[in-house]
Structures are given as structure tokens and as C-alpha cells.
Symmetry: C3
Subunit: 145 residues, 3 copies
């Protein structure tokens, strides 16, 4: 069965990321500096270029797709939890090019912000910690029912 | 005019769905078991394969598109309300394939979870109940201003 | 660095938009009539046709892409703030056609609702006001650290 835990809203922060920043690094930095160990993130904006991951479920490895052109971020959805004792951002993005065609995947380093407006809902509750999941090869929350 | 009602945040639950589950059934089960009659859902993750609906606005029927390959869930956005006296999940998904190309639609049964991290915000307020909407042929909230 | 400010949840409203409405105008109207100067919006649904913007980062102008056919809204993510002393909605949409292919961009006027279910989280906090940003040519929040 699914494993879901109750969490509580602690604080909401909203604002903009800076032009030229690495999107994933910037979000991770905000969490590390703010000592945010649990939360959810949403954002819209635009990037100068993007790198997104696709997990090959059979080979158990990420493929990375680089899109070397400006794109709109139509949606970024992510969460914040703990991995190797540090705040860790897991986010997926949906992007659109100059023809309106959409792309997406697991947000990887190398995605460079042009403009980005985000809302981070900081949560409190049980520790959500990532560890190796044998079934999928991914780093998932090691939660017990 | 739009019809919007005030609702209140009651509880937030966050966690993961299990590998192999039917995404829509699993979310619906969580709502039924938890007696959740109002809420919003967001998720990211990956699926082994997907089935999404597109509503033909003229013929007034859903077409279903099956994508028989692994995909990232770049975003799932949904809500929980009541249909035929039971908790009902209405969700849309955006997916991305191994080339980063995005797909999407109305989440249908047959979308099988590989990994999925979700946040469900349980709400309380007036009853949101679905009924047949003559204008669109859809099952919409029968709310009055 | 990123500039993020603390905001607080004031009220949540949830409901449906009317068939035939201009999506961006309807959301803007709701904010103006409700005197909503800060918030976040999420929605799913379907449109009769869409118009989305792509910002040309070099030429510093929006290109608009018109998709003259029915589409599912797989996700709308937006925020509410102040521009020229009035509530202003900035939203991005992800859409999907009858083949499941996804499109997206900056929500522009001319996107006509078929059905739309939305959640607006009204926030309170510091004033988020848009002004011309020299670096990007966009209308961004003129926030100071």
C-alpha cells in the first residue's frame, strides 16, 4: 500500500530566483541556507537552457536530455526532504519551446534560470529521508507503514 | 460567472505510492479509506505505462490514449470531491518520455506507478458534489452561486 | 541571490469557471472583484482553443502561439500580485491535444474555457509589485533583499 504521513504547514516563502542561476542548485541552496528539511515547491518562469533526466526503469540509470535553447517553465513541482543528512530537492519540470511544444523530466543540474517565480511551502512532521530502494534502484523515502 | 466557495485546510498528508499500483485506483483508495471528501493532490514520479483521456467536446465522449512505455510524471494535479456519494479523484497528468517529449491528459485507469511522491491537502468546507452537466456532457460540480 | 519573502495563507477558494469564458480574464476578474492582491492558483480542465506566449529572450518580446482546437489543461500554475496598482495574474499552462501531445507556455488572452476546476490560495504578506526589469525586459517583482 501507499505510505502517507501527516505533515503540517510551517511557513510559506514566495519570491524570485536570479537570472543566470542553476535552477536545481539555487533551490537546493535556499533549502540548505534556510535549514528546510521538509516541504513542497512550485514554480513557473523561463530558462536559458535545460537538462532533464529520464529514468530508464530497466537499466536503472538516468538518461539526461539537454535542450540548448530558451524555454518557458510551464510548471515545476518538487519536494524537499533529507538525503545523506542534508536538505535535498527532488523536482520535475515541464517546459515549452518557441513553437509551444512541451518537454519535461526530472530537473537536473545545467538548467539555467532566465526568470523564475516560486512558492515554497515549508512543512514539519516526521523525517522524510531518502535511501536506496532495491525494487526500483531509485533513492526513495525509506518510510514504514 | 465562476462559482468559487471558501474551503479550509484540514490536514496535509505526504508520501509515496507503491510500485505496480494503478495510479488512479491507488489515489481513489487512499481517499475512500481515509474518508477524504474534499481536497487537492499533487504528485511527481514515473509510470511503467500510461492511459490518458482527451474529451472530445463535440462528440461528448472521452478518447483514451495508451502510451505503452515508461514515462516520467512531470506533474499530476488533481482534486477530490464527491461523486455518487463516494470520494472521487479527478486528476490530470503531464508525462515525459525518454526523449524528453511531453504528453498528457485526464488520468485514466491503466496508468501503472513505478514510483510516485504525492502531497494530498485535505480540505473541509461545503460539499463539492459532481453531477451531469448538460452544457458540456461532463460530470461537474453542481454548485450554485 | 534569490529573493524570497514570508507570506501567510489567508483563505482558500475552490470552484469552477464557466464554459465560454476567457481563462486569463476570468481569473483576473475573480482577483479584481475579490480584491485579491497576493496568491497562488492551480487548475485543471479543458479549453476550446488556446493562446500561449513564449518569451524571446534575445529580442525581448513575446511570441504568441495560437492552438485553434480543443485541448485538455493538464496543469495551470499561476500567481497573483500587483501590477500598475491592480491585481495581476501571471499563469503558465500545460495543454494536451487529442493525440496526448503536450503544449504550453505563458497563458495569454484568447484561451477559452470549456471546463475548469481551480484552487486559489489567497495569501497575505509584503506587497509583491511588478515593475520593468532591465536585465530581462520582463515585468518582475521589484523586491529587495
Amino acid at each position: 500500500m501507499a505510505v502517507l504521513k501527516e505533515v503540517k504547514q510551517k511557513k510559506i516563502i514566495m519570491g524570485k530566483l536570479r537570472n543566470g542561476a542553476d535552477l536545481l542548485e539555487e533551490l537546493t541552496d535556499i533549502c540548505k541556507k534556510g535549514n528546510i528539511s521538509l516541504g513542497r515547491i512550485e514554480a513557473i518562469g523561463a530558462v536559458r537552457k535545460a537538462s532533464v533526466g529520464f529514468y530508464d526503469q530497466e537499466k536503472r540509470e538516468y538518461l539526461f536530455i539537454n535542450i540548448n535553447e530558451p524555454l518557458e517553465i510551464t510548471n515545476l513541482t518538487g519536494n524537499i526532504s533529507i538525503k545523506e543528512s542534508k536538505p535535498f530537492v527532488h523536482a520535475h519540470v515541464t517546459l515549452a519551446d518557441s513553437k509551444g511544444r512541451a518537454y519535461g523530466g526530472h530537473l537536473a543540474p545545467g538548467t539555467i534560470v532566465f526568470a523564475c517565480e516560486c512558492v515554497i511551502e515549508i512543512l514539519e512532521g516526521p523525517v522524510f529521508e531518502r535511501g536506496f530502494d532495491q525494487e526500483t534502484g531509485l533513492s526513495l523515502w525509506n518510510m514504514q507503514e
